[in-house]
Amino acid sequence: MAHDKSKSSSLLIKGGHVIDPAAKLDAPMDVLLRDGHVAEVAAPNKIRSGADETFDARGLVVAPGFIDLHVHLREPGQSYKESIATGTRAAAAGGFTSVCCMPNTSPVVDSPDWVTWILQPERGAVVNVFPIAAATHASKGAVLTDFGALQRAGAVAVSDDGRPILNDTVMRDTLRAASVLNLPVIQHAEDTRMTENCSMNEGPTSFRLGLRGMKTAAEASVVDRDVQLAQQFNGARLHVAHLSTADALKAVRRGKRGKVRVTCEVTPHHFSLMDADVGDYDTNFKMNPPLRSSEDREAILAALADGTIDAIATDHAPHAAHEKIVEFERAMFGITGLETALGLAITRLRRDHKIPLTRIVELFTAGPARVVDLRGRGTLARGHHADVTIFDPKKRWTFEAAKSRSKSHNTPFDGWQLTGKVVATIVSGKIVHRAD
């Protein structure tokens, strides 16, 4: 295996098995990267041009760089939880070459200046960062932000993540204004009027623990309304964040059948866990949307297999210890997820539910690339960005939260044995992460 030379301008990935769903590739192939782009993808040993460096990928899968549509990098303002530098290092360790960061920071990213700030080299990102801007000022759900200016500054979507847009008129205006710019609107679907003081899913576990439970209807009713609103505008693009319920899936299916441009993502924790796993008040199992019933989880697994779901997104939500090691109802919502996503997907989806690896790779690459139009990414076609994720689909390993690259360790997966591990992450032709 060659040594990491960050100055080298060409890299040959040799002997691997390429899975590139967008290009319909699933075969042993070599990949040549040159000057930050894909120069050639060819049958084994057919690439004749020399390379400064060679990566031995025998026994490994070579895929387009993974894209995470939903992360919280916590900057500006909350760098005690995470920074763009540490969050993107966790992303690289998890095989993600591109992450879309949510605007619910302090202050909220609702101006082009903050979008620009996130993109500055001083932030120290090691993977591509694509900011999602707030849809309304301070995400208060009242006055729309300047979508055009935000888009020009680099925002790939708008969202008031964590503070759903409940007002019908504001949501209609948001979809209309965004549709003119072909900008996706990402909604955290939760009718917060129904979930006040709730800390987990409503069901036998919440009753047993004496915790107020969120009804699945709080999610489904918002998705249902949003799909209907999106239908009213030609070109409106609605993306449902971290979908968690069977009923919300029905609304998405209805929309897709009705030719509404609606897409959705699910998180690894929602296809891996369920509400009973909260056990006795383990705050590392507290997130929003909450872990749901086994019926909801089964519906999500079926929708991952049948193509209804467009992307796997982590909703990586780091929190400091003092925000989590408290009474369950007072604990912050959210868990980290960047470094466990691929392992959970292969363990849960492929090993346990026989979903093909090509489909899993699609959910991490071409699927999310389509949702936010990341042109030149999500596939290894010639001329595209040299973002590559190389992983060992059979490697068994144990995730240790203490060794996470994230600043925070609020994960329910500490100590889990997973199958499938990232071996190298390549961004613009440069290796930014290599497994120990």
Partner: protein
Amino acid sequence: MVSGVCLQAYRTPLNLGSALAAEVSLKSMKKAARGSLLGIEHLEAKEILSLLALARRMNPLKPRALLRGKRVLLLFYEPSTRTRASFEIAAKSMGAMTTLVLSSGSSIEKGESLLDTAYTLRAVGADVIVIRHPHAGAPLLMATHLDIPVINAGDGMHEHPTQALLDAYTILRHKKTLKGLQMTIVGDIYHSRVARSAIHLLSKFGAHITLCGPEEFLPEVATSLAPGLHLTRTVEEAVRNADTIMVLRVQKERLAGTKLRLQDYISRYQMTSARLRLAKRDAILMHPGPIIRGLELTWEVADCPQSVIVEEVHNGVPVRMAVLAKALGKAS
């Protein structure tokens, strides 16, 4: 030494819902401090029986110096009359000293976290902490970070284990056995930690439990709490042939925002003499208190010969003596 002063990753011992969760390595899981009483749910029947047997040997009128030199910290984040007074009397009648810390007037008002309060109380020399808290799971959080026992004196809507123990103690003074007992619980079960603990306890011993109340206070999911629970919306059906009836307090403010009017609740669910007559002739009437006469029960029912409401309070003292003695390893 105070254990776990630094904030370590918080893990709980029971987490077996998912097949995958079973793969979690056990090394990082934390256990509650030995001697703690956090709830009835995870107790074994024999542990309950031994506590009840111990309570029967306790006599608050004959002080014993069983806990001499021990410091019992009473940490109350919510108002309490019965529980607080009986824990204090229980501790003192065994020679322990007690210190009461209330959330108002303490550093808790200044924003001190639950665990920092716990470490502080441990540092001043507490041997056991009795805690009442508005948040479910607070006693468990404390017990998994301390090396002294923690006793749950009521946590949010979750559990109130000493109340369930004194209820069982009281029932067994009137009935031979809990097995096959026709037990009826009427009222606001959803918000009630007393109900949850009582249901766990009685179902472990094979009582037949009927839950009764309107949808607002008794969601269908309540029957998942234990095997064999029966649910009805009709109080007459619930009471008929009951051996024991437990009536729960109704807080008027909890009806706000629901479709149910107070007057409707009273007419449909209030325990009246006429309704009580549907129960077995020797049925007993229980209530964890505080009672609101004229709301969940009539004046006459509260004071009728079948009412054991005052006896329950009385029995709270020997039961809490037993719990404290057990917690501090003086149970023999």
